[in-house]
Assembly symmetry: C2
Homo-oligomer: 210 residues x 2
């Protein structure tokens, strides 16, 4: 399989989401033209993207919705259960822990870590909050695929590093710093950056374009 461009990879979950919604509406087949109209992109791009993974369609017919969705499930690896832990039981950590719908996509929350003694030992939605001191040992003892960082920025890089050393497979970072590590998958979510792009665009509009 040829190396998948980053841009293509980032569109895959959107394809998956849309196919899932078509399937729920009992739609059996869909063409790249129809997909393009719904997703506001060119039919050409959709066919081009999907063909990195193989020819899933049929000339003159299009794509079978359920079949294509299943292919995407497999490509995205969401048919594999992934063990997840959250480090930081603050606002965002709490929200993610309570947000049930990740479980539907194969992500299983095993534990939460915090260093606040008032929180240690309590639970969020049946999930125990452990002492951060136990983090390394916990990762070593359990196969942890994804470590979610919802801690202050100043701790993020270091906790990411020790999580990697302990054997974690990926970091999902919500701290407002860029976590950079070699040899582990990292996804940075920068909510403030995103909000700033709205601020920028509003300011541009007010200036009459830029």
């Amino acid at each position: 399989m040829s190396r998948i461009p980053e841009a293509v990879m980032r569109r895959l979950p959107r394809y998956y989401r849309h196919l899932d919604s078509l399937e729920k509406k009992d739609i059996i087949r869909v063409s790249s033209k129809q997909l393009g109209e719904s997703l506001r992109m060119t039919a050409s791009q959709i066919r081009h993207d999907l063909n990195f993974f193989g020819g899933f369609g049929q000339q003159g017919y299009g794509y079978n919705v359920t079949e294509l969705k299943q292919k995407l499930v497999h490509i995205l690896g969401i048919d594999i259960i992934r063990n997840v832990i959250i480090v930081g039981a603050g606002n965002i950590g709490n929200a993610l822990a309570r947000y049930g719908s990740f479980e539907n996509e194969g992500f299983k929350l095993l534990a939460i870590f915090d260093n606040d003694e008032k929180l240690i030992g309590t639970k969020i939605r049946n999930i125990l909050i452990h002492d951060s001191e136990e983090l390394v040992q916990y990762i070593k003892d359990n196969k942890i695929d994804i470590v979610v960082l919802t801690i202050p920025g100043k701790f993020a890089q270091q906790i990411a590093y020790i999580s990697q050393q302990a054997g974690a497979g990926a970091i999902w970072n919500f701290a407002p710093v860029d976590v950079t590590l070699e040899g582990i998958e990292v996804e940075n979510i920068h909510l403030t950056d995103s909000l700033m792009t709205l601020s920028f665009r509003l300011a541009c509009e007010e200036k009459g374009g830029c």
Copy 2:
């Protein structure tokens, strides 16, 4: 000013964040080479990006940290206070409402809306939760720059639409659907999509690359 490419715009908050941290360390000057090393990008790209907005540096010297940061503050428009409301007082809405640090960047949360009678009239961090019925009137009566949508997907497009009609300037959407509207700035945050890219990358690794 020539039209700013999307890719450039998305890098601006990162520049701002880094300059802010340099300033806090009392660093006076910085070269594009140094910035490139810290941010893991080419010096060329940084100079190229900044020059869309003007020549902020000095040959043989580099950039003055405070001055460049101030330019970025102005470019990003975070020197303008933006009025924000949150629609949906669930997990994510709650977390965003409690997350104080947006206020540092010029975003002011005025109100929260929900349709759960048990929540209406209560407060999160001093911010009153209003009945969703009042949303349109509230936007009409107050200059609302940004409407944050932390509601189920099925309501997102419609609430975005009526918010626009009522006069809102931008939508920050956390519902797992793509809100598409003409004539209003929209930023979609798809947490599940982001998590799926980690799943994809882990699956790729396990397959030995793709």
